[in-house]
């Protein structure tokens, strides 16, 4: 069996996002997109995680985001995994 | 007829300088006067004149010193912190008797403060922020039109007296736009036999303020004082609005003078005898003009965007003859018409009692 694919969760602080689009541009897996219809309190069409399952946890979005919008977590499916 | 355009005060200064014959502009960016530097960056080269963005305010003022020494009409502009940096240079320029124009679009202070309008640099401008005994001729415009006109005229005044002239404005006057009639009058030109042009057959010219031989500096000082006396005699200006029968004089300059006028109008509408004395020259201060009203005046209210710096000059003029009150705001706050009116009412209430 192939090495189990790791899963990740991106926590997005919408109100910090300024829709600069850098995370979108640098994400290798097209996980992110700017909202087409939602805006935050500052009026920015903030970033949305549109393909969460595709995320490989590479942290590119984390590093390029000038506004520290993201937190990244590795999700382990622990259903009795460790005996 | 002359052109009428919508411009902000900073740009109006720029165009005024160009029409006043400014040959060289040396500036360094600072809010709220950036539009002036930007205007000069575009328009001075178009007129084949000199625009240099200096590396600092210190460099800018010393470039002005150089250009003025070489006989050019030279100018710099800044806002409060930047003007503080120019104080050594201003003292040198005054000491060497060089004509030049400096614009201070004041902002909130002290320190980095903020970029809102203020008049907290009055003492610096009027008493001398640099070292030694010297005076600037200080003009205080109150409209975009005057930002333009006074700047143009400042070059003539500077040349006439070989003295630095300051336009003391504030962030509001710099930023606000008004329709403006552009000046068409030609600058007055004087011959500058003292300028550095290469000595060309005459005795050497020296631009200097250093006089190491005993007594010589003092002679220079006395000559400066004599010049200041002449300036005070010839150039003192104030704008009197309904002062003829006023019992309360509002004394204010620049932005505050506009507000004071509105208050005076409103008071008059209510039957109160209120006038406005607006100093146009802050140095020389219009002492005699205010004194000429003292027989009728019962109260004076000074309105400023400072802790009350001009109050001292008002008190020096009235010498205890009438009470001098103060209403002001600081740190970028601008007095409101209602606030001034309330203070005026309070004072007038005292009068009627």
């Amino acid at each position: 069996m192939a090495k189990p694919k790791k899963r990740y969760r991106l926590a997005v602080d919408r109100e910090r996002c300024k829709a600069c689009g850098l995370c979108v541009a640098y994400c290798p897996k097209a996980v992110l997109e700017l909202s087409r219809d939602q805006i935050n309190a500052k009026g920015y069409p903030y970033v949305e995680v549109v393909k969460p399952e595709a995320c490989i946890g590479c942290q590119s979005c984390v590093w390029v985001c000038p506004d520290c919008v993201f937190e990244l977590y590795e999700v382990s499916a622990e259903e009795g995994a460790r005996p | 007829m002359s052109e009428r355009v919508l411009m902000n005060g900073n740009e109006a200064v720029g165009e005024g300088a160009i029409r006043g014959g400014c040959d060289c502009y040396f500036g360094y960016p600072i809010t709220p006067q950036n539009e002036l530097t930007a205007y000069m960056a575009v328009h001075m080269p178009r007129h084949e004149r000199v625009f240099v963005q200096a590396e600092s305010e210190v460099a800018a003022i010393n470039m002005v010193y150089g250009a003025a020494g070489a006989g050019a009409r030279a100018m710099t502009s800044s806002s409060s912190p930047g003007v503080s940096l120019k104080q050594e240079g201003m003292s040198y320029i005054a000491g060497a008797g060089l004509p030049m124009v400096i614009v201070n679009v004041q902002r909130g202070g002290p320190g980095l403060g903020n970029i809102d309008p203020a008049q907290g640099d009055y003492f610096q401008a009027v008493k001398g922020g640099g070292h030694g005994d010297y005076r600037l001729l200080v003009l205080a415009p109150a409209s975009v039109q005057e930002m333009h006109d006074f700047t143009a005229e400042a070059f003539d005044l500077a040349d006439r007296y070989r003295n630095p002239v300051m336009i003391l404005a504030d962030g509001r006057l710099g930023q606000m736009m008004e329709p403006l009639t552009l000046r068409t009058r030609e600058p007055e030109r004087v011959e500058k036999t003292w300028a550095l042009t290469g000595k060309r057959g005459r005795a050497q010219n020296i631009v200097r303020s250093y006089f190491s031989v005993e007594g010589v500096l003092e002679k220079n000082n006395l000559a400066l004082q004599e010049k200041y006396r002449r300036i005070a005699e010839a150039e003192t200006r104030a704008d009197c609005y309904r002062m003829d029968d006023a019992e309360l004089a509002l004394v204010a300059y620049g932005t505050c003078a506009r507000l004071a006028k509105a208050v005076a109008r409103a008071c008059r509408a209510d039957g109160l005898r209120v006038g406005v004395l607006r100093p146009v020259t802050l140095w020389p201060w219009p002492t005699e003009i205010l004194r000429s009203h003292l027989d009728r005046l019962k109260q004076v209210l000074v309105v400023e965007m400072s802790a009350g710096q001009m109050v001292e000059d008002v008190r020096l003029a009235v010498e205890g003859a009438v009470p001098v009150h103060f209403h002001g705001r600081m740190g970028g706050g601008v007095p409101s018409v209602t606030g001034i009116r309330a203070k005026a009412d309070e004072i007038m209430g005292r009068i009627s009692r």
Binding site: R36, D37, I39, A41, K42, G43, P45 | L6, N8, T31, P32, N114, I115, G171, R172, Q175, M176, M177, E178, P179, R258, L259, K261, A262, R265, V334, S336, V337, T338
Partner: protein, 183 residues
């Protein structure tokens, strides 16, 4: 000739200065005295920003609008801040995409969802022009053609596409202003 004192307000990037200046410039043909006063805000980016235009038949003593005849607000903090300055019976133009309908005792209010419309038109940056269109109609100083010519002139330098977009936004706003909510 009635005085008009109007405040345009929103966040830094929303183009309030642009529409305020455009309005003042255009109004110069109709009023002898005009002042335009930007809030040049904090030196750093991103604060709220507003500008004020005063039109008058008489000398304008103060370019500061203490009591406004109209306010044009792009975001909620702007409404909250300037509604108290509106005189009774005054006009409010608010960006319904980001501002809740104001609770007014009288006067006129219009709330075009300017940001949404602008996004839909493909450029969030023309939301301001939508607002201008609505305001200009509401205040009724000059006809649509004058406003249209002005926006066309002002945006000409940005190229024909941008110009067309701006004119379209103006029209959208103008059209919205027939649905005045309270009077």
């Amino acid at each position: 000739m009635k005085d008009e004192r109007v405040i345009f307000s929103g966040t830094g990037g929303q183009g309030l200065m642009f529409i305020g200046k455009l309005f003042a410039q255009t109004a110069m043909e109709f009023y002898p005295h005009v002042t335009f006063m930007p809030s040049y805000g904090a030196e750093v980016r991103g604060g709220t920003s507003h500008c004020r235009v005063v039109l008058s038949g008489e000398e304008i003593a103060s370019p500061v609008v203490e009591i406004a005849d109209s306010i044009v607000v792009m975001n909620q903090p702007s409404l909250d801040r300037f509604l108290p300055a509106l005189q009774p019976g005054g006009r409010v133009v608010y960006n319904a995409s980001m501002v809740q309908a104001p609770d007014m005792a009288g006067g006129a209010a219009i709330g075009p969802p300017a940001t949404e419309w602008a996004l839909a038109m493909g450029d969030i940056r023309v939301a301001n022009v939508v607002m201008l269109g609505a305001y200009v109609r509401l205040v009724g100083i000059f006809p649509f053609e004058t406003a249209d010519r002005a926006i066309a002139d002002f945006s000409a330098a940005k190229g024909p596409d941008a110009q067309a977009l701006n004119r379209q936004a103006l029209k959208r706003g103008w059209d919205a202003a027939d649905r005045v909510e309270s009077a």
